[in-house]
């Protein structure tokens, strides 16, 4: 008995020792690999094409280097989460990745991004970038941590045929909020089956609700979300309540889609794919990247979009200066702080963002160019009929506050819009609840009452 027990123990110990001998191959002779992480969806393949082309170019120029592309198939929110989780550990952190501008500052705080100042000083292409665009990649310490791919603006996209049928004079240039309501009511009166004016609301469309809808209202009232000078969040502003009231009016009078449809995260697909092309919608407030869905090769090809659609700036509340409102977001490419070969990683970034690749990407995704040699390219300017109109809006555009708390504040704004369009709360009540939520998120001392 004792011998059997001993022999069994000896067997297990020997097996354990043998397993310890199994170790991964020594990494000394492995070829260099660069890991690249970015977003890819059914409707957004422009970035995938960009990286495939950059990979081919880079591997041809650098012997022994492999570029490993790891696209993440997810929407913006989930992509951000997956990237953040990957960045936490050096074994999963990518070398080069696609980063949203408004996450740059908090990710710099977290130590995820590599400071690029040294590399950028030696990169000849860096001078060709717009000064305003260069600011997108700044960290709190003034260093640059990311390079922009392009930028976007927001505007009113209207269907000329629908408006003309309702007797609205073209081109449509609303100067105040009242103009929008009047025109929407006119369209509704002439054809009750058409959705006159779409503005996203609720938590379903996530960041789209605030970037493409609520902020166009808020920033046109003279009030803002965040006081950058005092670094405090604004609460109790009239502009906030007025913006909610506008959305409430729009939805109560059924000048927009039904609340149930608005809360569906996929409603934008119907806007681009069905309602606008089929003349069932008068207008929507959407990003300058809209043509990327309708042009040849897009997910909702619409050959006539150039003639049937028109673009107008979203007006300020009472037409006050500067007359229009727009929001800009934009994405960047960044290098991971823990990358094993920073020089190589930056070289790949430079290849991906050279003139040829930037041009192709900006045209395919209908982004506004941030490189002057792309902006002046004839092919870029002729890419779609609206390039000039949307680029002009850069002069009246605003940016989101790029702080670590922003996602929760954004969620609180989305909740407020959801409450008013579903009729659960009045605009004043929803605004008051928003104030309470903000104080709960950042602490009372970080808020300022205006």
């Amino acid at each position: 008995m004792r011998r059997r027990a001993l022999s069994i123990t000896a067997l297990i110990a020997a097996a354990a020792l043998a397993l310890c001998a199994c170790s991964p191959a020594a990494p000394a002779d492995q070829a260099k690999t660069l890991k690249v992480v970015y977003q890819k969806t059914d409707s957004f393949v422009a970035l995938d094409d960009l990286f495939k082309s950059a990979k081919a170019e880079f591997e041809a120029a650098h012997d022994g280097v492999t570029v490993e592309l790891q696209p993440i198939q997810a929407n913006d929110d989930d992509y951000g989460t997956k990237l953040a989780l990957a960045l936490r550990s050096p074994s999963t952190a990518p070398d080069v990745f696609y980063e949203d501008t408004f996450k740059v500052r908090s990710d710099v705080d977290a130590g995820f991004l590599l400071k690029l100042d040294g590399h950028l000083a030696e990169w000849k292409d860096w001078d060709k970038f717009d000064d305003a665009a260069k600011a997108a990649g700044l960290g709190d310490d003034g260093g640059t941590y990311a390079v922009p791919l392009g930028t976007d603006t927001r505007a009113i996209w209207y269907n000329k045929k629908v408006l003309a049928a309702a007797g609205v004079s073209l081109p449509w240039e609303p100067r105040t909020w009242q103009d929008i309501l009047d025109t929407a009511r006119k369209i509704k009166a002439s054809d009750p089956n058409v959705v006159p004016f779409n503005m996203y609301a609720g938590k379903g469309t996530g960041e789209g609700t605030v970037m493409q809808s609520f902020y166009e209202l808020l920033y046109g009232t003279g009030d803002e979300l965040y006081d950058a000078d005092t670094k405090k969040w604004v609460v109790g502003s009239d502009g906030f309540t007025d913006s909610l009231a506008f959305l409430k009016t729009l939805y109560d009078e059924q000048l927009a889609v039904s609340p149930a449809e608005a809360l569906d995260a996929n409603v934008w697909k119907k806007v681009f794919g069905e309602w606008l092309p089929q003349g069932k919608m008068g207008a929507t407030v959407e990003g300058s990247y809209a043509p990327s869905f309708w042009q040849k090769g897009g997910s909702y090809e619409w050959p006539d979009y150039g003639t049937d659609m028109g673009v107008a700036a979203f007006p300020t509340k009472d037409g006050q200066e500067p007359g229009g409102v727009s929001m800009s977001g934009g994405w960047t490419l960044a290098v991971g702080a823990g990358t094993k070969d920073p020089d190589l990683a930056f070289e790949f970034l430079g290849t991906a963002l050279n003139q040829k690749n930037s041009l192709a990407f900006n045209i395919a995704s209908s982004q506004i160019a941030v490189r002057e040699d792309v902006a002046s390219d004839a092919g870029y300017q002729a890419a779609n009929p609206f390039v000039k109109d949307v680029s002009e809006l850069v002069s009246v555009t605003h940016y989101r506050p790029a702080t670590a708390d922003y996602p929760r504040i954004s969620a609180a704004v989305q909740e407020a819009t959801e409450a008013v369009i579903t009729g659960a709360k009045s605009a004043e009540q929803a605004a008051a609840d928003y104030d309470t939520a903000v104080a709960g998120i950042v602490g009372g001392d970080k808020t300022v009452r205006k």
């Binding site: 027990a5 989780l85 908090s106 705080d109 130590g111 809360l263 670590a404 969620a411 709960g440």
Partner: protein
Amino acid sequence: MTARLRRRARLLPVVPAVLLLLVFLAGPVLWAFQASFTNAALTGRTARSPGWVGLENYQRLFTDPLLPLSLGLTVLFVGGSAILGQNLLGLTIALLMRQARRPVAAVVGTAVVAAWVLPEIVAAFAAYAYFSRDGTLNQLLGGMGLGQPDWLYSFPMVAIMLANVWRGTAFSMLVYRAALNDVPSDVTEAALMDGASGWRRLAFITLPMIRGSIATNLMLITLQTLAVFTLVWVMTAGGPSNASTTLPVLAYVEAFKFGDIGYGTAVASVLILIGAVFGAAYIRLLREGKP
């Protein structure tokens, strides 16, 4: 000496299993519990160096109006879809299958089990397609001339509870089938000869004899249903306006959508605690029940 060594040697084969449980089960639970006392986040300064905040996350949790709502929805979800729905439906199907013809029993059994073995994301999407505005259920109701409400918008809890009943009934059915097979037929025959009707036989003979299985089944499905996440997330994402935000959904939203891992793990710890309390209660019930 030999006897002690022998006893210890008997435990040896269990050691790898215990190690796996400790590493993959107890480890993450302890890590989550520990993280709930910090301000760990997915991004920002605290992602690099999380600091100890003590009970701050729990204080915030217990003053958050979302917590009682979420708790209530979770209790409703577990009580309605598991304790009542899956349990009673599973028992009913198991009882009926004993008296049904072989082919009918086979078809019903396969259909019920098929819903259970589907990968959760596939089942969740099937349920979403069924309950969505233009989905199968509304097509059927429309065909019969009845109203077609937007289930996932107007009645989200009803939709997810029905989906969960559809998904999990197979487990209860299998447990009860096995339990009913163990009920000795001579006792039921004796009762039949004494003139007991079907209902009285069921209530006074069959059910008391499978008492242990009922308690075990309830415990297992309660704990399983407490953890249901994918189904709710795919169907309603906790909406509209948190109308179907059960505790797992709340934990996910806080930890991964807002990146606040400290707070999310606090919610998760509360959930684990609830599960532990339920588990302990059921085990005591079982132990008392044993003759």
